[in-house]
Amino acid sequence: MIMNFSPFWPMLKKELYEQYRTYRAFIAIVILLLLGVSAPIVTKLTPDLLQSLGNGITIVLPAQTANDALASYLKNMTQLPGLMLILLAMGCVAEERSRGTTITVLTKPVSRSVFVLAKFFAYAAVLLVSTALSAAAAYFYTTQLFSALPVTAFLLLNLALFIFFLLALAITILASVLLRNAVAAGGLAFAGFLALSILPGLNATTAQALPSILFGSERLPLLLAGTITPGEILWPLGAGLGLVVVLLLLTCLIFQYQEL
């Protein structure tokens, strides 16, 4: 198969424009931004909220800290955005195939790999912007309401989050290539996302290879204290990115041999 990458830019431009025109980019940015803003605010207000709901019973909570706000932010960001991503991207290939637009595009000199990769990078770009805005908001409010977080550790955690999103995205696009029905593809992607979230808790070896290990109770304090070794950071980030590449290659290979 000829790998002509010159149509990549028009394809990427079209994908980005589609995300703008169909409000997908707007939805992603707003949801992630809200999660970033709400985590430190809700953490700050939680003791007062519990007190007001306690019906006269005194509830004593330890004083909330910047680390609690960060933990809340990480918890938020590893749940809802994954599901949002599945809903936004589950039809990216499946719907185009059922509508027939794949035929319109792929009878032009566009390779199937370019078709898939343009979609991946367009969603990745929107996720990058959304994650950056969310992180900036979370950092700002945490600093205002509590104290400043260590910048390097916070940036590394957001990089890990971004790679975690890329994994969820790669799984969703693979599902969308495998199944012609967008809803079925969403179901398959959700199963994959669940596996991605649950497997690290079941198997220690798998956990080492996923960026989500950095959000766990073992490594997060070390990361924030600056006592973590570089290997403990780079290995899950590198392995996560490697897994994204493998999933993308697999998706391109499968799509190559499918009938439109």
């Binding site: 000829i2 149509p7 169909t22 509508r99 319109t104 009878t107 439109l260």
Partner: protein
């Protein structure tokens, strides 16, 4: 220059199977350059499969084909750079405007911005969509979408234009407009056009091929096919019931078959010259009250029906 390079399309033993079902059974076909070529066949004959193979949507199970001199399975040159294609149900990004869509297609072919703008304007004018460029495709009528589909297929000034059933879903006015547009393309590029609407093919095509059960039954110019395959029919209409014509004509050796419907009879003859000489005299002598006597010109439909019905039983398997 090889034969494959001279012909716009050439297929040798082209096959396609899905599991045990063989939908294209060794197609041998040569389409002359710059012709308007019609691929005919009933539903399920293998027309769309042939189109999909030639436009690289699917891979053949066997055989080879060349389009514009380029092998369809070629690794070094992509045939899609040199063809245009309109599918049976053209699909668009409905959120785009017509102009944005054509611009996007032009970018896929790597056209430079100035040339691309000029080409978009030319195509909107050619397909009669000037004024609708900034309208969302979602708001286009069916006919407008079909014309936009033809415009996108012409973006790269293709050497071969593939149109899969381009008029079958259109109303009579839309069909007329699209057929007129195809007629305008005559001489500019090779148009390879599949249809089961025989009158449309008869109207615009120079040559046709008839496909049935995945096999090529015939390929020739429409005129040659009519002369070779269509049997002449003489229509006789009386003021009264046409039943007496059966007795009158049954002994004539040039009459092959008589079909009576009310006061009208269709007489299938084996020797038109002899029939023209003897039949009018016979009718006058009989004293039957004659309203109309007409030698019907053979149509592509007559040829098609005959070819499809004459296909040997073993070929259908």
């Amino acid at each position: 220059m090889t034969v494959a390079e001279q012909a716009a399309i050439r297929c040798t033993g082209l096959r396609k199977s899905y599991g045990t079902a063989e939908v294209l059974k060794g197609l041998d076909l040569t389409v002359p350059a710059k012709s308007v070529f019609g691929l005919l066949g009933p539903n399920g004959a293998g027309k769309s499969t042939t189109m999909k193979l030639l436009t690289r949507q699917i891979a053949p199970t066997g055989g080879q084909a060349w389009v514009a001199g380029v092998p369809i399975s070629g690794k070094s040159t992509d045939v899609r750079q040199r063809i245009g294609y309109l599918s049976e149900q053209p699909a668009f990004y409905l959120w785009m405007t017509g102009y944005e869509f054509l611009h996007f297609i032009g970018e896929l072919f790597g056209l430079k911005p100035a040339l691309l703008r000029q080409r978009c304007d030319e195509l909107f004018s050619l397909v009669g969509l000037t004024g609708a460029e900034k309208k969302r495709i979602g708001a286009y009528s069916h006919g407008m979408r079909q014309r936009l589909g033809i415009a996108q297929a012409l973006m790269n000034q293709p050497e071969v234009l593939f149109l899969d059933e381009p008029v079958s879903a259109l109303d009579p006015l839309g069909r007329k407009e699209v057929l007129e547009l195809l007629a305008q393309l005559k001489g500019h590029c090779t148009v390879f056009f599949s249809s089961h609407i025989l009158a449309d093919v008869d109207r615009v095509c120079d040559q046709v091929a008839v496909l049935h059960h995945g096999r090529l039954l015939a390929q020739a110019s429409t005129q040659d096919l009519k002369e070779h395959y269509a049997q002449p029919v003489i229509t006789i209409e009386l003021e009264t019931e046409a039943n007496p014509l059966t007795d009158l004509l049954k002994l004539e050796n040039y009459v092959q078959q008589i079909n009576i419907q009310g006061n009208q009879a269709s007489v299938l003859v084996t020797d038109l010259a002899l029939a023209k000489q003897r039949l009018p005299a016979l009718l006058v002598q009989s004293g039957l009250p004659l309203l109309r006597y007409e030698v019907a010109l053979p149509t592509l439909e007559d040829v098609f029906v005959r070819l499809v019905h004459e296909e040997p039983a073993e070929a259908k398997q």
